[in-house]
Each structure stands twice: as structure tokens, then as C-alpha cells.
């Protein structure tokens, strides 16, 4: 448990790790609650309220998340921006990454949204129940061929990933290739219908396609079915350590020490509940004293929108998300996004474009400087900082940006049009540089 000072910087960091960063005044309000109160307000947020301007596309129309390409991404991004329950939304994102399902393989935004709602409703609930529900979730059944897993010809896809990625982990001695095959048999029987009009529908368990024979899994024998397959994974002695280590990694960039790990496992074993584990992680000193984390792209983007109180006014966010390396509902594969490699020269440019897109419509026209626009380097810098609601920047970053400002103001010299326009051009430029600085990319 963290015992240090819980002030504004700590409250801000908590809001970034457990949500999508502060809205104006939010970090100050959270800091007043103290650590305990702050964490409790996140894990028990009460009913959801959506705060801020409603989302729309570029022509002012309502979003069509189930139908139009990319509007699923924008719809969820909006929810991240406007929600009063940031941790619930952040955990929904965690489960999307944990049980990473891509619409590339599912081919139905409707089914993806249904799965998304499943993740949201289980955000801080029972992991055992979540696993059971995910196992026969239509999008997952299509994605990992659970709907084609037949007793006469088992398909191992889901069986393998449920152990490797969802519950136990590879190369830990938790299961063998034989277990994969036997679990696949336990999971047989799910299927669905398809029509050209409705696509995939009527997902159901068909007893005739289920293998009712005896299976041997993790050294236990029985006439296991899909429920048993889930129960065996969650009950496996190596599951709690896998679960808490993986969950921890979403909040802290370095692995937990042994004592922390054992403590978290102990909490988790009591009932396979997510909330108490998350609560313990959010109160841990590693959140407040530990190293920074690179913000995932949607967290970065939603955070900038929250920071200036802006809403979703364009569907460009979908392809911009893709340029940043994170288009929602399209994780790269069933292992999800690689949280250790968000940044490279391509995704950096994606983030630059995200900021640029956000700035469009907000920038000052250099030809018409606003009344009283500052003309000094420090004045322009302060004005650009105020646009973003004064994010916390390191001394080096501030010095670097002030240096840029001094050079640009000096360039103007005594030429009349330059002395009028350069401060405005500079103010616009500094807004971009502040938002892409290493300080704002990380938290």
C-alpha cells in the first residue's frame, strides 16, 4: 500500500493508469479524496453518466457503430472521453486486449459490439464468469473457430489460446500438447447458422456435435464439456499467478516483486474476482513511485480530447487510430497489442497526426492574430500551455520548447508582417510540440 504524499501529480498519474487522464479540475478533486477514497471512487463509480458534447460524424450525423467502417472505433473512443466511469471503460479495453478478437476475422461490427458490452458488464466482476461467457460469445466463436469444433473433427484453435493467452500462459509447464487436444474435445458442440441476409446468427450448443467421451486434462479424467474446460483452467494451480501478473502489466510497466505477487494471488484466490485485485494494484506504491508508462494510443487520444473538453466530431479517429497502431476492434492478433512496443517512427507520426487533427479548427489564423496575442517567446509558450490545460512537463522539456520559441521570435526580426504573424504561427506549432513531447506520450 502506498503511504507517500497523494497530491496532484499522484492523482493525475492514477487517472492515466486507471482511465484516460483528467478532465479540467478532475485531478484536483481526486487529490482531495486521499488515496483510499480516490481508488474507491474509481472501482465503485456508481451509474454511468456521459458528460460532454455528443459524438457525430464529419457531417453532423449520429455515429453508426454497428454498420459504418470505423464508426465502431469512434463510438468507443467517445465513451472513453465522456464516461463518468473511466476505470470500467479502461478495464473493458483490458479485456478487449486480453481476449483479443479482431473484426478482421469476425466480419460483423454488430457481434463485436455485443462482445464489447460483455467485457463492459464484466469489467470488474468475476473472471470465472467472464471466461465462461467469452467461450461462447459469438464473435469469439467465429474468431477462434469454436463454431467449427466438431466431435468428429476437433478444431484446436480456441482450446490452445484459452490456455496459452487467456488463463495459463505458454512455456510455464502448465499444460501439454495432449491437454490442448483433449480440451478441444471438451469444447466441441458450438455452432451457428448463416444466411446471406443475416450473416452469422443463432449461436447455440448442439449436443449431437459434442464429444461426450472421457477426456484427460491436467491429469484429471471425466466427460468434460465446455464449462468443465473453463473450470479446469481457472482452477489450475498456475492460473492465479498468470492472472495477476498479466493484469498487473496493464497498470505497471515492471513486473511485481515476489511479495506483491503472492499477496495479489492470495486476494484473487478468494473468489476469482477482478475488482479486489485491481483495487490492490491501484493502491500499490509501484503506481506512484515507479517508472512511467507509454500511454496506449487510444488512451493518449481520448486523454487529449478530455483535457480540452472536446468531443468526437469526425470519423477520422478510426484511421488515425490505425496509424497510431491501435484501431479498436482490430487488434493485430489473438495475443492483443504489444504494450511494450507502442512507439516507433510510424506510430509516432500517427500520434503527431492525431494531435494535428485535434488542433484543426482550434488553430489561430496567422493572418488575423487574436487581440492581445502575446509577442514574447515566454508569453506565447504560456498561451500554448494554457490551451492544453497546463500538462505537467519536465524542466528539460520546458527549456527545449522555450528555446524553440525564442528562435522563432528572433526570426521575425523587425519585419512588420513577421512580427505580427510569427507569434501566432509559433503558438500553433508549440501546441503540437507540447502534445507530442515525451512527457505527454507517457504518464
Amino acid at each position: 500500500m502506498y503511504r507517500g504524499r497523494f497530491g496532484l501529480p499522484q492523482a493525475e498519474r492514477l487517472l492515466w493508469r486507471a482511465g484516460f487522464g483528467p478532465r479540467e479540475g478532475e485531478a484536483q478533486a481526486l487529490a482531495k479524496l486521499g488515496l483510499d477514497g480516490a481508488v474507491r471512487s474509481l472501482v465503485d463509480p456508481g451509474p454511468e453518466k456521459l458528460v460532454g458534447p455528443r459524438p457525430h460524424d464529419d457531417k453532423g450525423r449520429r455515429l453508426a457503430p454497428a454498420d459504418a467502417w470505423g464508426e465502431d472505433h469512434c463510438w468507443w473512443l467517445d465513451r472513453m472521453v465522456r464516461t463518468s466511469r473511466p476505470l470500467v471503460e479502461r478495464m473493458t479495453l483490458v479485456w478487449h486486449d486480453w481476449f483479443a478478437t479482431s473484426n478482421e476475422g469476425v466480419g460483423s461490427q454488430r457481434l463485436m459490439l455485443r462482445q464489447n458490452q460483455l467485457f463492459r458488464s464484466h469489467a470488474l466482476g468475476s473472471f470465472s464468469q467472464l471466461l465462461l461467457d467469452v467461450t461462447h460469445d459469438p464473435a469469439m466463436l467465429i474468431w477462434l473457430n469454436g463454431n467449427e469444433n466438431d466431435k468428429d473433427a476437433p478444431n484446436e484453435n480456441y482450446a490452445r489460446e484459452m490456455m496459452e493467452l487467456f488463463t495459463l500462459g505458454a512455456d510455464r509447464g502448465a499444460y501439454t500438447e495432449h491437454d490442448v487436444r483433449e480440451q478441444a474435445r471438451s469444447l466441441t458442440g458450438w455452432r451457428n447458422r448463416w444466411s446471406s441476409g443475416r450473416g452469422d446468427y443463432y449461436f447455440h450448443f448442439d449436443r449431437r456435435r459434442h464429444d461426450t467421451g472421457v477426456k484427460r486434462v491436467f491429469g484429471k479424467s471425466g466427460r468434460f464439456d465446455w464449462r468443465d474446460a473453463c473450470r479446469l483452467c481457472v482452477g489450475h494451480p498456475l492460473h492465479p499467478s498468470f492472472f495477476v501478473t498479466k493484469l498487473w502489466s496493464y497498470f505497471v510497466p515492471v513486473p511485481p516483486d515476489r511479495a506483491t505477487l503472492l499477496g495479489l494471488e492470495e486476494i484473487y484466490r478468494r473468489g476469482r474476482q477482478v475488482k479486489p485485485v485491481v483495487q490492490a494494484i491501484l493502491g500499490h506504491p509501484a503506481i506512484y513511485d515507479g517508472p512511467r508508462m507509454v500511454k496506449p494510443p487510444v488512451v493518449f487520444t481520448a486523454g487529449l480530447l478530455r483535457r480540452i473538453g472536446a468531443g468526437i466530431t469526425t470519423t477520422d479517429w478510426a484511421w488515425i487510430g490505425s496509424l497510431c497502431g491501435q484501431q479498436l476492434f482490430y487488434p493485430p492478433n489473438v495475443a492483443g497489442w504489444d504494450d511494450t512496443r507502442w512507439l516507433d517512427t510510424a506510430t509516432f507520426r500517427g500520434r503527431w497526426i492525431a494531435v494535428e487533427r485535434l488542433l484543426r479548427g482550434h488553430q489561430h489564423d496567422p493572418g488575423k492574430p487574436p487581440k492581445g496575442f502575446p509577442r514574447t517567446a515566454d508569453g506565447v509558450f504560456a498561451r500554448s500551455m494554457a490551451f492544453w490545460n497546463a500538462p505537467q512537463l519536465s524542466a528539460e522539456t520546458k527549456a527545449t520548447l522555450r528555446h524553440v520559441a525564442r528562435l522563432a521570435i528572433a526570426d521575425a526580426g523587425n519585419e512588420d508582417w513577421k512580427t505580427r504573424q510569427y507569434p501566432v504561427l509559433l503558438g500553433n506549432a508549440l501546441r503540437e510540440l507540447i502534445a507530442v513531447s515525451p512527457d505527454v506520450q507517457t504518464s
Binding site: D152, E177, H364, T397, W417, A429, E432, T442
Partner: protein, 450 residues
């Protein structure tokens, strides 16, 4: 398993639309280019023809920097790796039609109608790989019918990781090409390790030296609304300066580092900052697939003398064919093979084919026996190909046959992928492979370069 909703055309159009910039206000006395009303992109494109004078002295150094670095690069060897993601079915790529067990194990999926493979006529090329068969006939392809490693891991992620890092070590974080670049590369050249397709390919992950990741060479600009002229130059210098901030915090240092790499890469790619598209001496497959476009851009970058050394990208298509394998493979392989063929012909037409080798690989092959969903599950040994004018053609390691499968019913490897890596490092780069591949001395090196 299909139903890709995304309309690539629309998306590409949107990405282009981002360049549709508002024009700056025009006032008397402004320097070109700001006052010309040209967008930055078209301006830079024209500047290629119009020489550098109009760009202003402040920026001249940046532009010249890109050219100078390019010109200073030795015309050295380039290795391109192409990843077939998902575990491509080796028994379809090179169908063992001469093996009596093939039809038994693959009653519905046995591939027929392909050209026999010259070095082992018991194998036949997948009909969609006909372009590779043709290059093979010219002696430009080395074929690995069963490549892998001992104690194969059937996890996509573990097995791919082994191939990417060049070792069966789950903990290793640097890629095999990344470690090579760390030892042999330069501190100021991100293009030495280039991922195409917008994400860093793990094989290129370095510990120290910069590497780059881009979609294409002509799409790497940094624009901001309401910023132009001298102030834009200051902003771009500021990006560079932000990248030079040091920090003890790993995440902060990573963010700064990538900022600096991006600033450097932007300068290197200035000669390509054009909307005109890339003109090639040969025809690439058309359509909205990004793979041929990436290879096309790559050939143009090499021809322009950019300092490329190791390049990694993903092939067209998706190879994790648990279901609907026949149709999925036919389309994925034909686009991949036709693109690779065009790339080779492009390099030949530009006179640079002697500088490039292309390794095509996958994380594993698939189970010998088909499953009940018209697909195959994860297997062990896979197929790989090395393509290029300097390749020592022919078969590397034999096909072990379907009667000697391993305990899981999978094909056993006859070539270790680490031996292939060692051979490439030594014979193509002239570099000591044991500095890159752990236990490098224990792997047999096939002869790969003629």
C-alpha cells in the same frame, strides 16, 4: 472467416485527404513557398526538379542532409525478410504429391495441378506459386521444404518469437537483425533497419541503434495546421530537440528516442515527399493490397540510393488456416508470389538485383492431417524461400516424407532456421554470425549465396 469490412480504398483516400491542407494567408513580402499557395507536399515534389534555391538557406541544410546521407551510403548488400503470418501450410506450398500418404492425410485439401519442383519431383509448387516456380527455373530461388527447430513449439507467438530473435529463447528481446545492426550499423541512420507496413517488425528490434518503421517512402511528413515557413522549420528542429532530451526513465527515454528517430527519418525521406506516386519499370499487381505497393516503394528507395540494409515486412494474406484453407491460401499465395516476382523483375530492370536477397518465412508449418473444418491446425516444420539474383539456387534440406512424422503428427525439420540466419550473416553480410546467433557455431550453414 472473411468479411473484411474495412474498405482499403476509402481508408487510403482518407490518409491522402489528411494532406489536403488549408492554405496559408497571403501577404505581401512573404517568401516562397508560403506565399505561393502551394501545399508543402507539392512544393517539395517540385523542389526535386527546381533545385533547392527556393527552399531558403535555413532549410537547405536539412534537404542536403538527406541527400548527402544517401550518397554517402555504401552500395552494400540488402536483406529483405517477408513474413507469412499465421503458420503457412508447407504441405500446400510445396505439395508432396509423390508421397502416397498425402491424399490419405489430406482427403479434401491435397493440392493438385502445380508444376513439379525441379530438385525433387515428388514435390509440386502450389499453382498460385507459379511465379516462384519460374524464378526457380532461372536458378534464383533456394527452397527450404522443411525448416524449423528441435522441440517445436506450436504457439504462434512463441514460435514466431524464436524466429524473430534468432534463438529458442523466450526471454530475448532484441531481434536477430537488430543485434546484427547494433554491431554493424550506424548511430545516425534509422533506415538501416526498415519495417514496412506501419509497425516495427520484431526481428529488427535493436538494443541501441535507431531503426525505422513507415507505411511507404512518400508518406512521411509532419504537418500542422496554421504553421508554415521559417516557423515550421523551427518546429521541426524542435521535434529533433525534444528527441535529444535524456532521461533515466525508460518509457520517457523511449519516447524521446523515437522522436529523434522520426526527425532523422523525415530528413532522409525528403526526396520522396511527393504526391506523384512512384514510377516503376515493371507492373506490380494492382488493387488495394499494401504488399505489392510496399515492395514497389522499396525497390524505388533502393534505386534512389537510400541507406537501407535490413528490411522486414509481412506478406499479403493470412495463413492461420484453421478453416477454409483452400480458398484462403489460393488468394493469399497468388498475391504474395506475383508481388515478389514483380519486385525481382523491378530490381533487375533497375540494375540493382545483385544487391538484394529476399527471405520468405513463416513461424511454423501445419499439421499433416487436415481437421474437420476444411483447414489444418498448428504444426512443426514449415517451408521457406530465399529469392534473388545472387542466390545459390536449389533445395536446402530435403523433404523428410509423411511416413516419419513426429509424435504430434507434424513434419520434422531437416534444416534449422538458425543455420539459415548464420549463413546469411556470413555469406551475404560478411559478418561473424556467432556475434549474433546464440550457439551459432552449432548450426550447419547451407550454401545460400552464389
Amino acid at each position: 472467416m472473411n468479411g473484411v469490412v474495412c474498405d482499403e480504398c476509402t481508408r487510403a483516400a482518407m490518409v491522402r485527404a489528411v494532406a489536403g491542407r488549408g492554405l496559408p494567408a497571403i501577404e505581401p513580402g512573404m517568401p516562397v513557398p508560403a506565399g505561393t499557395g502551394l501545399t508543402r507536399r507539392t512544393f517539395v515534389a517540385r523542389s526535386l526538379g527546381l533545385a533547392l534555391g527556393v527552399y531558403g538557406a535555413g532549410k537547405l541544410s536539412l534537404f542536403e542532409g538527406g541527400i548527402a546521407e544517401a550518397a554517402a551510403a555504401p552500395q552494400g548488400p540488402i536483406l529483405v525478410t517477408v513474413f507469412l503470418e499465421g503458420g503457412a501450410d508447407a504441405l500446400s506450398l510445396l505439395a508432396p504429391v509423390g508421397d502416397p500418404l498425402y491424399r490419405k492425410l489430406r482427403p479434401s485439401l491435397a493440392v493438385t495441378g502445380g508444376t513439379p519442383y525441379t530438385a525433387d519431383t515428388a514435390l509440386a509448387w502450389h499453382p498460385s506459386l507459379a511465379p516462384l516456380a519460374q524464378l526457380d527455373g532461372e536458378g534464383k530461388v533456394a527452397v527450404f521444404p522443411a525448416v524449423g527447430y528441435d522441440h517445436p513449439d506450436q504457439s504462434h507467438f512463441t514460435s514466431r518469437h524464436f524466429w524473430e530473435v534468432g534463438a529458442t529463447d523466450p526471454q530475448l528481446l532484441t531481434g536477430w537483425l537488430g543485434r546484427y545492426l547494433d554491431a554493424a550499423g550506424r548511430p545516425d541512420n534509422p533506415l538501416q533497419g526498415l519495417s514496412l507496413g506501419g509497425a516495427l517488425q520484431p526481428s529488427l528490434a535493436t538494443a541501441h541503434l535507431p531503426v525505422a518503421s513507415i507505411d511507404g517512402p512518400n508518406q512521411y511528413d509532419f504537418w500542422v495546421p496554421g504553421v508554415w515557413g521559417e516557423v515550421e522549420g523551427r518546429m521541426l528542429d524542435g521535434m529533433d530537440a525534444l528527441g535529444r532530451i535524456r532521461s533515466d526513465d525508460a518509457a520517457f527515454a523511449t519516447a524521446a528516442n523515437v522522436t529523434l528517430q522520426s526527425a532523422t527519418l523525415r530528413r532522409q525521406l525528403l526526396p520522396f515527399a511527393s504526391d506523384k506516386g512512384i514510377s516503376s519499370p515493371v507492373q506490380y499487381p494492382s488493387g488495394d493490397d499494401s504488399f505489392p505497393a510496399q515492395l514497389q516503394g522499396l525497390a524505388a528507395m533502393i534505386a534512389a540510393g537510400l541507406p537501407l540494409h535490413c528490411v522486414a515486412l509481412g506478406a499479403s494474406g493470412e495463413y492461420d488456416t484453421h478453416a477454409g484453407q483452400k480458398a484462403a491460401l489460393t488468394s493469399a499465395l497468388s498475391m504474395t508470389a506475383a508481388s515478389l516476382y514483380a519486385f525481382q523483375r523491378d530490381l533487375e530492370a533497375r540494375g540493382i538485383a545483385d544487391r538484394v536477397l529476399t527471405l520468405v518465412w513463416s513461424e511454423f508449418g501445419r499439421r499433416a492431417e487436415e481437421n474437420g473444418s476444411g483447414g489444418t491446425d498448428h504444426g512443426a516444420a514449415g517451408a521457406a524461400f530465399l529469392i534473388g539474383s545472387r542466390v545459390s539456387g536449389g533445395q536446402v534440406g530435403e523433404f523428410p516424407g509423411l511416413s516419419s512424422l513426429d509424435d504430434d503428427g507434424n513434419v520434422k525439420a531437416t534444416t534449422d532456421f538458425r543455420g539459415v540466419y548464420c549463413a546469411l550473416l556470413e555469406q551475404w553480410f560478411g559478418f561473424d554470425a556467432e556475434r549474433v546467433v546464440p550457439d551459432g557455431s552449432s548450426f550447419q550453414r547451407p550454401k545460400l549465396v552464389a
